[in-house]
């Protein structure tokens, strides 16, 4: 089996994890999590150096899930990496669980920041990378934003700041699933042309298929290899709810959680039944 199909199989298992978490604990934003599964897999499995061994060390690379409402996919990835126990996933959102529906500070290793409020992750990551530079700590970071999150002015403050500091060890991936909470993201705010916006702010900018793990990894690797003083933005074209046919591109699944029958159908479609 080639590495690509291994990662695709892993992504499918992670989709199953988040569907089950949403079903069991009635955690919403399921479609938002499903849309970025392949981005999370691409970053953690083959680009960033984050392991159970180094997760407690400042030398770990940083994956910052700035769209904190997709937390279940972050938790599921951390479990598959062996950083948190798989059983912990079943407790999400329940009283006393370390896993809130949106991440709390320092809740479990590997959760870099509490990002339930949108528009914080990029600025904080810039601070982390500036500290790392002063400390001669050669880390790199991937920050995952949602398209709706790009409504926030603080995103663009940070976007203007990072190139001025020459942070070429920074990659932003935008999960461009074309939806935000209550409507089409390009109708609610004039997002387009999104790639050109980032380019205009001084970033390398490119558009990729956000469900093509190898394409995502190529783009991230190329971004980190450039070392030319400019950060990179990857506009990942995705489908909200990707992987479960009746959730795909149906924005009701921003809030809905699956019932028993929908869970069974979803797992069957994913080949995990």
């Amino acid at each position: 089996m080639n590495p690509g199909s291994d990662l695709a199989a892993l992504a499918t298992r992670l989709r199953g994890d988040v569907v089950k978490m949403s079903h069991r604990s009635h955690v919403s934003h399921l479609a938002s999590a499903l849309s970025c599964v392949d981005i999370v897999v691409a970053a953690y499995w083959g680009v960033l150096d984050v392991t159970a061994e180094n997760v407690g060390s400042r030398t770990r690379d940083r994956f910052v899930l700035s769209k904190g409402h997709a937390a279940p996919i972050l938790y599921a990835a951390l479990a598959r990496l062996g950083i948190i126990a798989e059983e912990t996933l079943t407790t999400i959102g329940q009283e006393g669980s370390p896993l809130a529906e949106q991440p709390a500070p320092y809740c479990v290793p590997g959760v870099e920041w509490a990002t339930g409020s949108l528009g914080h992750g990029l600025g904080v990551t810039i601070g982390i990378l500036l500290a790392a530079r002063l400390q001669k700590n050669p880390v790199k970071a991937v920050v995952l934003l949602s398209d709706g999150e790009c409504n926030e002015g603080s995103v663009w403050e940070a976007a203007m700041f990072a190139p001025s500091r020459g942070l070429d060890n920074l990659v932003v991936v935008i999960d461009f699933n074309k939806w935000q909470a209550t409507g089409r993201s390009r109708e609610i705010m004039a997002l387009d042309p999104l790639a050109a916006k980032w380019a205009a702010f001084g970033w390398h900018s490119e558009e990729v298929d956000g469900h093509d793990i190898q394409a995502l990894q190529s783009a991230m690797r190329a971004a980190f290899a450039r070392c030319d003083g400019r950060p990179s933005a990857i506009i990942a074209h995705t489908i909200k709810g990707k992987g479960v046919s009746f959730m795909e591109d149906d924005n009701n699944w921003h809030y809905l959680t699956p019932n028993d029958e929908q869970l069974a159908r979803a797992l069957e479609e994913l080949g995990l039944a």
């Binding site: 500070p105 601070g127 500036l130 400390q135 001025s164």
Partner: protein, 307 residues
């Protein structure tokens, strides 16, 4: 006060490699010496205060000691959610220094006034709020903040504030600093109003024939409750004086504390700005007069209340 801040941040950066200065594109030439000496630890973050605070939180989370400096309303009101989430929720030791606080920029209009910042920031869990009285207290507060493991907000004036201390005072966070010992009336000044409190006390002395106590109450949060308990048991009248709204600042804090006590001897008089924007073009002097924050008006109100 801002020159004292610039000197002290230079000294602290020289002795502590973790110190990083972030500023919001203000203070023309103020930091020239710092920039020349520590170019790697100086970040002009532009007119983007919210991002400055998030960046500072990220720096602090990696063991650096960032100090953010810009004009108070933009540092605090504009960035409040970043301060709340990135700094306080994550308990990272970011020091926020707001300059030109209160009515310092009176003539620039109410966009530049900050009479609600103490109230807003002291509501945030884990935040310490310091209001130094003069240049030397500013230096001491900054050094004390650097020794504190959590977030600190330091509210300073602009320049040319009268000196209160002849030598650098020992500032301990959470401990009021008595300036003048007297009887019957105790004036608790905070920030630049501490000097006005001293002048008001002089007037009261002449009129009443006894001298009130005067305290630099530089720490609004955490409140020095032991000191308050002793003060309210000893004096007849306790007066808080601040260049801040009577809602939510030092007076509000003391009133909240007093409401939880029983059998207090002293009455509380809380003096500050009214719950309004100042719409008239004003100088610092006329703005203070408008809000009754001159030594004469304060002495008048104390006289009225005391008799």
């Amino acid at each position: 006060m801002r020159n004292a801040f610039a000197q002290e941040i230079f000294d602290l950066a020289a002795s502590d490699e973790r110190v990083v200065l972030l500023m919001g594109d203000i203070g023309n030439r103020l930091f020239d010496k710092y920039r020349a000496q520590f170019p790697d630890r100086f970040f002009n973050c532009g007119v983007a205060e919210a991002n400055m605070v998030s960046v500072a939180a990220g720096l602090a989370s990696e063991g650096m000691r960032p100090v953010c400096y810009t004009i108070t309303p933009f540092l605090t009101y504009r960035s409040l959610e970043q301060i709340r989430v990135d700094v306080c929720y994550h308990q990272v030791p970011v020091i926020l220094v707001g300059t030109g606080s209160g009515l310092s920029y009176a003539s620039l209009g109410a966009t530049h006034h900050s009479c609600e910042d103490i109230g807003m920031l002291r509501l945030l869990p884990g935040m310490t709020v310091l209001c130094p009285a003069d240049a030397l207290e500013t230096k001491s507060c900054l050094a004390a903040a650097l020794g504190h493991p959590g977030p600190v907000y330091i509210r300073i004036g602009k320049k040319g504030e009268p000196a209160i201390h002849s030598e650098r005072p020992l500032v301990q966070i959470g401990h009021a600093f008595p300036l003048r010992s007297g009887e019957k009336i105790c004036l608790l000044g905070t920030g630049v109003m501490t000097h006005v409190a001293l002048a008001a006390a002089d007037l009261v002395s002449v009129r009443e024939g006894f001298s009130p106590s005067v305290v630099s109450f530089h720490t609004v949060k955490p409140l020095d409750e032991d000191f308050l308990a002793q003060t309210f048991a000893t004096f007849d009248l306790v007066v808080t004086i601040e260049e801040h709204s009577i809602l939510g600042g030092l007076g509000g804090s003391v009133a909240e504390w007093a409401a939880r006590q029983q059998g207090l001897r002293a009455r509380l008089m809380a003096l500050g700005t009214a719950d309004e924007f100042l719409h008239e073009t004003s100088t610092l002097k006329s703005a203070r007069r408008h809000f009754g924050l001159t030594p004469e008006r304060i002495a008048d109100r104390i006289d009225d209340s005391f008799h």
